[in-house]
């Protein structure tokens, strides 16, 4: 009996297998550390993190659609909401909100008050310019691309840079006509 409409993020999160957030956080920390050592340049690290996120995003979407019976969201507005309310919850156990819609509804912000990635993190002067959570933007971008929405994502606010929250600006570049090559093969 498939529940009608998308299930709530909390419901899903309650049912999925979970791990200690600290393992997650520290592992992510270790990754960032490695990147900083390997790539040396902060810009490169940002790129690599985004790439990693993208890789995750394009794989994660299947699970997302499967677990939350989100009937594929057609319009961008709806999609953004789903990501914020369900997506973040079911994977990171935190909820995000969507704000700052622009007039033509192609650009909005996903705001994270609470972000397991950055527990303990403080950027030293040597790492200024590092978008520590850049992997998130990659994930969102990748996932959206799988539902055929090309987006451009930029950090508006970053707690590690002293802001009061994390704000991802998601800008819809173009929406490729609906087609789900990735939906079937599972």
């Amino acid at each position: 009996m498939p529940p009608v409409g998308p299930r709530s993020g909390d419901a899903i999160f309650a049912n999925v297998e979970r791990v200690n957030a600290e393992l997650f956080t520290l592992t992510y920390g270790a990754i960032v550390r490695q990147l900083l050592t390997d790539l040396e340049e902060v810009e490169e690290v940002n790129k690599q993190l985004d790439q990693m996120g993208y890789n995750i995003g394009i794989r994660l979407i299947d699970e997302f659609l499967a677990k939350s019976n989100v009937s594929r969201c057609v319009d961008f507005k709806e999609t953004a909401e789903v990501i914020a309310k369900i997506g973040f919850k079911m994977f990171l156990g935190v909820t995000a909100s969507v704000t700052n819609w622009d007039a033509d509804g192609t650009c909005c912000s996903i705001v994270l008050e609470d972000n397991p990635l950055v527990d303990f993190v403080e950027l030293p002067d040597t790492c200024q310019g590092l978008y520590y959570c850049n992997i998130l933007s990659g994930v969102v971008r990748g996932a959206l691309e799988m539902v055929s929405m090309k987006t451009e994502i930029t950090w508006i606010r970053d707690m590690l840079r002293g802001d009061d929250a994390f704000e991802l600006q998601v800008k819809l570049l173009k929406q490729v006509p609906e087609e789900y090559p990735y939906k079937d093969d599972e």
């Binding site: 791990v19 592992t27 990754i31």
Partner: protein, 194 residues
């Protein structure tokens, strides 16, 4: 804008209380992250040994921190000064916190005095990773081995820690054994402390 950041007190990690470690994320989130860790490191190496070393380094960074955190939070600022103490700390406390369960088993190596083994039927990091044939003996457990080494080394018990697949009869998936070989200085000290 960075300057501004410094002004904001709440933004500073030192002002936030240490987390109670009750927070959780979905396993798949970790799975995705971990597989990226592995894949990234694959691009940085040209052989399995190197890859395992890098994973171990990543793990070490986690272990060293976990030790400090857990001793403070879960053991009320007691240090482990004895070999068995630290081993059980790894086997139970660390495992419980990180993997949500005590490790399946902790045994002393039969042939060597300085060897100990922590075994896990299904190591968390190996649950969602299937090793391609061409990567032979590669074991993602190297990451966990790194964590263990991080804890031990941090606590002053330097050791060589390695992860191995050990086939179990009656099951097609082998279990993973974390092999710990302590440095001789550790054993010497143990002897001195009696």
């Amino acid at each position: 804008m960075i300057g501004v950041g410094k002004m904001k007190q709440y933004s500073n990690v030192l002002d936030r209380p240490l987390s109670k470690g009750k927070q959780e994320v979905s396993l798949s989130a970790f799975a995705f992250l971990f597989s990226e860790l592995v894949q990234y490191n694959q691009t940085q190496v040209d052989n399995i040994a190197e890859l395992e070393r890098r994973l171990e380094d990543a793990g070490y960074a986690v272990g060293a921190r976990v030790l400090e955190l857990l001793c403070h939070r879960d053991k009320g600022n007691r240090r482990e000064t004895r070999l068995l103490g630290i081993l059980s700390f790894v086997h139970s406390t660390v495992w419980k916190v990180l993997f949500g369960k005590v490790a399946d088993s902790l045994e002393k190596g039969t042939e060597h005095e300085d060897e100990y083994m922590i075994s896990e039927k299904e190591l968390l990091v190996n649950r969602f990773i299937s090793i391609p044939k061409d990567m032979g003996t590669f074991n993602c457990g190297a990451f966990v081995a790194g964590i263990v080494r991080g804890v031990l080394d941090g606590a002053g018990f330097p050791a060589v820690v390695t992860a191995h697949f050990v086939p179990v009869e009656g099951q097609q998936r082998p279990r993973t054994t974390i092999l710990i070989k302590f440095a001789e200085e550790v054993l010497r000290r143990e002897a001195r402390l009696g």
